[in-house]
């Protein structure tokens, strides 16, 4: 049922009326949860995510069993998917491998972008709650975590900005005319090959790259280029959110 690919070639408009290089509406808030050390709420189209950060704090598990016993802080990530977030209410087991893989990815990403060596023997907990799923889930989680970590005031090298990129070609067809697409929604993700890419700030340095669908090697370059470009747009938006928040704090302090 290639409904996207068939209509796309006619008007060059996607299912939701976007052009190939347009992001969905990306909005975010910082410090939404009072109890957490840092928190954020992020919407990428209809994907909605709340992220809270606690720490750096003393690790719960003592005895140096985990990596938290070392000279660097340990980053632990917990992802909860709300039952009402998807189209069908599916009960997920506690050890869903896809979720565990996402947790590992996020934890590894921030373990190398945060200055973890400043907090030896401690743990940074990132809790992510997914309220609504409509594609680009990993990207939304990464962006929300970046904002929450900034809010918690944990020093980091640069923003980690993520988005998805797809291609209108199917895996078998070697069509040179296939367009790369930016920021896929759920319907597009189910039909088209796509990748999630996260870059470090404005650079072309890729921290995360996940592709799970079959695609011709030739399509990859275009997808990656569009993805990295999208990450730069995401960075602008995230930076705007942080700066607005900073300005508000300064204004309230001045009064």
């Amino acid at each position: 049922m290639p409904l996207d690919t068939s209509t796309y070639s006619l008007a060059l408009l996607r299912l939701d009326g976007r052009r190939w290089n347009e992001l969905r509406r990306l909005t975010a808030q910082i410090s939404t949860q009072a109890a957490a050390d840092g928190s954020s709420y992020l919407e990428m189209g209809n994907t909605k995510v709340i992220c809270t950060v606690t720490g750096p704090a003393e690790g719960k598990r003592t005895g140096g069993a985990g990596t938290g016993g070392g000279n660097e802080a340990e980053v632990r990530v917990e992802i909860g998917i709300a039952g009402f977030s998807g189209v069908d209410r599916k009960r997920r087991g506690r050890n869903d491998k896809r979720i565990s893989e996402m947790q590992t990815t996020i934890s590894n990403t921030f373990a190398s972008s945060l200055f973890t060596h400043l907090y030896p023997h401690s743990t940074i907990n990132i809790n992510i709650h997914i309220l609504s799923q409509d594609g680009s889930l990993l990207a939304a989680c990464l962006n929300a975590s970046t904002l929450a970590l900034i809010d918690a005031g944990i020093p980091m090298r640069n923003y980690i900005c993520a988005c998805t990129a797809g291609s209108t070609s199917s895996h078998s067809a070697n069509d040179e005319a296939a367009d790369p697409l930016l920021d896929l929604n759920n319907l597009e993700e189910q039909e088209l090959p796509f990748l999630t890419v996260a870059t470090v700030g404005e650079s072309d340095e890729v921290a995360v790259l996940v592709l799970e669908t079959r695609v011709q090697m030739g399509r990859l370059e275009g997808m990656l280029a569009v993805g990295v470009d999208g990450c730069k747009q995401v960075r602008e938006i995230l930076d705007g959110v942080v700066r607005r928040r900073g300005k508000r704090i300064l204004e309230s302090a001045a009064v």
């Binding site: 491998k97 934890s107 921290a207 790259l209 592709l211 799970e212 030739g218």
Partner: protein, 305 residues
């Protein structure tokens, strides 16, 4: 849980010093695999892959079961990985570690999600009887690069495996024993293989070129524990990328990653050719004096149409 022993300060320094002089500890080139050997068992569907000191054994089995109600036409295909304490003291029975989780996810994405095995061809009677193919991956010895070795062994075992021939008449299915009819191979749509690249920060003094990080292929256990990041790329020899996983770690330039995919294609072609060669040697070994061929041809001639 006993922790993995971290490499000592001396080992670390020796390794990084050697790397800055463009030398790997075992003297291989940066993009060179260790010696790959592939042995098949006497049974169909047993493949034993050795990559240096890493050794992975895969056993494929098939049985007839009923399909999932939501997919009545699809057979079942499961991959189970087992990392026993024999492999490394940090693995415990019945408690999957992160390594095991990532390994099984990687194999799942590479082989199952890319539909390497045509599950529709495993259907016997729609909604009632299908073949269930199970690949048991046993890691016998772990010296780094488990993913690539496990992937090679599964793909080789799947190609080597023969499932019993069947015939359906109405609602009944007859499964013929190996003596009654020659078993049939599985229908594989393509043969994806993994190649893992490990990244190391460039040497501090540098050559003044400002070049990027060092990329190593087929890392040993020591090299793996010292790497700053890695990417696993799964491809088939037709140049289709099935999966890319760079799950965090040090950030790498996008161009480097694209370069990695083209290196991966070369390696995948080499390994595919090796597996194909070994499979052919194996079939020739079993087929003494070409007797099998004459037997098969006479059987085919008997079937009308």
């Amino acid at each position: 849980m006993p922790r993995e022993v971290e490499p000592s300060q001396n080992e670390k320094q020796f390794f990084t010093k050697a790397l800055s002089e463009n030398i790997r500890i075992d003297g291989r080139g940066f993009d060179e695999f260790r010696e790959l050997s592939l042995e098949f068992g006497d049974e169909h569907g047993v493949a034993d892959v050795r990559l240096g000191k890493t050794r992975v054994l895969t056993h494929i089995t098939a049985e007839v079961t009923s399909p999932f109600p939501d997919r009545p036409f699809d057979g079942l295909f499961t991959i189970t990985t087992e990392l026993s304490p024999m492999t490394s003291p940090s693995f415990e029975v019945n408690r999957p570690t992160e390594t095991e989780l990532l390994l099984s996810r990687m194999l799942e994405k590479t082989i199952r999600r890319s539909s390497a095995l045509d599950t529709e061809s495993l259907c016997l009677i729609a909604g009632q009887k299908v073949w269930s193919i199970r690949a048991d991956v046993h890691v016998l010895s772990s010296d780094g690069n488990l993913t690539d070795a496990a992937c090679i062994s599964i793909i080789a075992a799947l190609q080597h495996f023969r499932k019993p021939d069947t015939s359906t008449s109405g609602e009944g299915v007859t499964v013929y024993t190996l003596a009654e009819r020659e078993p049939v191979p599985l229908s594989l749509l393509h043969h994806p293989l993994c190649v893992t690249f490990s990244f190391y920060p460039p040497p501090a003094e540098g050559n003044g070129e400002g070049e990027g990080e060092i990329t190593l292929l087929d890392t040993t256990h020591l090299e793996e524990s010292l790497r700053a990041g890695s990417v696993t790329i799964s491809m088939n020899r037709h140049g289709e990328v099935c999966q890319i996983a760079k799950l965090g770690g040090v950030a790498v330039d996008a161009v480097t990653l694209l370069h990695c995919t083209s290196v991966a294609l070369v390696k995948v072609k080499e390994i595919s050719a090796f597996v194909a060669k070994r499979l052919e040697q194996e079939s020739r070994r079993k087929d003494v004096d070409g007797k099998m061929k004459t037997l098969l041809s006479s059987e085919n001639a008997r079937i009308p149409g």
